[in-house]
């Protein structure tokens, strides 16, 4: 039982990280119908900015996060302006492949800045943990969950109450109509990339906290893609539910598969997100909460 609960706790905190990356993905998809495969690279680069200011410049961690967020947002806006803007109106596949190219480029730059060894994040949580009812709960796990809840409520409030949020919702609903009503769609695009990059940066910070950040973080971030598919490409609630499902399934597999299903091989838990994605897609081709595409010929 303890083992099961422990897996559940680990799963929920992992889900927080997946949800951060997946949310950025959904926000970009909703506002401009672009699949952003560059999200893992943005995570690495964002994580690097924070660790750079927190460990090299020795700034307090909160300030490092603020500067990192500003730089991440700037990166997002620059990427959108330089490479995505010329592709407006091009086939969705072309744009998706373009973001794969972007991912390759940004990952190389981020890894080059970071170097080969694992870099400490300089976070205040470290590897400390509290014991509660026989469970080991790391400080960073609590921090992940609290931050995700805060960020998601902030985002929802932003979409609901601010002018910009309204503009973003309008654009997501119908781009052309939004344009005619005076919404600056280009600002919405830039904004959604900025938000996505900042969310990815938080994902990087939490992935790197405690154990440190290295190239393997990109593989973890890639697992946010099955999360988005499970939840549905254009659903914010779906991203969170999908993250919980995928992450809990993954940690449960990591806990029990080595004992009960050894024939599946070492490290099978890494595959579980993709397996969950396959199963969900077989029954619901648009994910759990995705809008079914209606097309006119």
């Amino acid at each position: 039982m303890t083992q099961f609960l422990q897996a559940l706790v680990n799963g929920v905190s992992l889900a927080g990280i997946y949800a951060l990356v997946a949310l950025g993905f959904v926000i970009i998809y909703k506002s401009m119908q672009v699949l952003n495969f560059a999200q893992p690279a943005l995570l690495l680069l964002g994580g690097y900015w924070v660790l750079y200011f927190a460990t090299i410049w020795d700034l307090p961690f909160g300030i490092a996060i603020l500067i990192g967020a500003a730089l991440a947002a700037l990166t997002g806006v620059i990427v959108e302006r330089t490479t995505l803007r010329p592709m407006v109106g091009k086939p969705v596949f072309a744009v998706a492949i373009l973001t794969i190219g972007l991912n390759t480029v940004i990952t190389v730059i981020a890894l080059d800045l970071m170097g080969v060894e694992t870099r400490q994040m300089g976070d205040p949580w470290g590897l400390k943990f509290v014991q509660f009812a026989g469970l080991n709960i790391a400080h960073r796990q609590i921090a992940v969950i609290v931050t995700v809840v805060l960020l998601v409520s902030l985002l929802l409030a932003f979409f609901k109450f601010s002018r910009m949020g309204l503009a973003m919702r309008a654009t997501a609903f119908d781009q052309e109509v939004a344009l005619t009503q005076g919404v600056s769609v280009s600002t919405v695009f830039a904004m959604s990339w900025a938000i996505a990059a900042v969310l990815a940066m938080f994902g990087g910070v939490f992935l790197g906290s405690g154990i440190g950040l290295d190239r393997s973080a990109a593989v973890v971030a890639l697992k946010a893609l099955p999360v988005v598919v499970v939840g549905g490409l254009d659903s914010i609630a779906g991203a969170i539910v999908g993250a919980l499902m995928v992450a809990v399934a993954e940690t449960l597999a990591a806990t029990y598969q080595p004992q009960y299903a050894t024939f599946l091989g070492k490290g099978f838990s890494q595959l579980v997100p993709y397996v969950v994605m396959f199963i969900v897609l077989l029954f619901r081709p648009y994910g759990l909460f995705g809008t079914k595409e209606i097309e006119r010929v």
Binding site: T83, V92, F93, I100, V229, E293, E295
Partner: protein, 405 residues
Amino acid sequence: MRLRPGLVADYRSDVAIFRSNVQRFWFAVLMVAVVVLGLGGTLPLIPGLVDFSLSGDLLLIAVSAAFASIGAIGLNIVTGFAGQVSLGHAFFLGVGAFTGAVLGGTEVTRQVVDLSTGQFVERTLVVGYRLDLIIWLPAAGLAAALMGLIVAPVAFRLRGLYLAFVTLGLVFIGDHVFREASILTGGVGVGRPAGVPSLLGFRFDQDGDVFGVFLQKEQKLFFLGVALLVVLGFVARNLARSRVGRALAAIRDRDIAAEMMGIPLARYKMIAFVVSSFYAGVAGALLYSAIGHLEPGTFNLLLSIEFIAMVLIGGVSTVSGSIMGAVFITFLPKMVKWLAGISLFGFDVFGFISDSPSGGFVNLPQMELLLFGGLIVLFLILEPLGLYGIWIRIRNYFKAWPFSY
């Protein structure tokens, strides 16, 4: 009519493989040039100034380029002709490569002590049957095609973007299976010997005389690659201009409209996947057969991206474009190395590219990756038709010369 090469008067000539005798002539010239290069000859690119010959390691790269072209044509059938984005090409390459290696490769055994008897016993580490190329090459293609057949139903249940994700998952699942099935694949970091390229007893991997001409093994492999590439290239070209190709083009342009016109989506998407994976399987088996050794860790997402880069940079939905792209991408590492060595007026222009893994701003493999990604982005924004499009533009310029329009 003969003097108006751009004029197409009937449907037959519109879909002809060679539209004019001029094209036939240039194709023949190209083939002669390839044969000359393969025999070790030198081609004057700009007479007296720049010569080009396939010497040293360039020949082996050319062999890989020929085999990679086959794989790129395969990806182009599913992504270019049928418009279904597949990130799973590395998986199909891997299936082909390991099928070829198991059927055509040598067995690896090791002496181990049996603890119960204390005797030495032979234990098989990796199975291999040492069959002939004529068996393992088609088998590699068919095994991959079978995998394509299994994946295809998922592909036509899903529309558009979701397919990209499924094929992405396929790469990860394939990677895991390859790593774990060590009796077939040798395991991570160890690998196994690849299929031996011996066709009915004729060894492509040994130096020797062919019709009285001494050829190195790389030269033999080069001719094998070019011959297969020409055959499979024409097959793909024929597929594209036939009923199947037209159906695929209709699906690519608008699948619902295609269905309305009576094209069975499921069947044609399946054909696209199966044929594409067949090409991938053949390419995978041959690529590693030329190198002689393969390792399960190679068939990852990066390999898929490499092939997508080939198709995009070369030219989407053209056979010649896939070949150009594959040649370009395969020679890219060599070009990067050459760029890093350039110095103008004693100034090291590309000094930021360094030979050592740690020094400089970027090292050679990183620079290659940067170029992959950068070129994908640039080509998509600036020239969606790829190298093929650039070539068409140059050709049209000279066709209309001296009038620019």
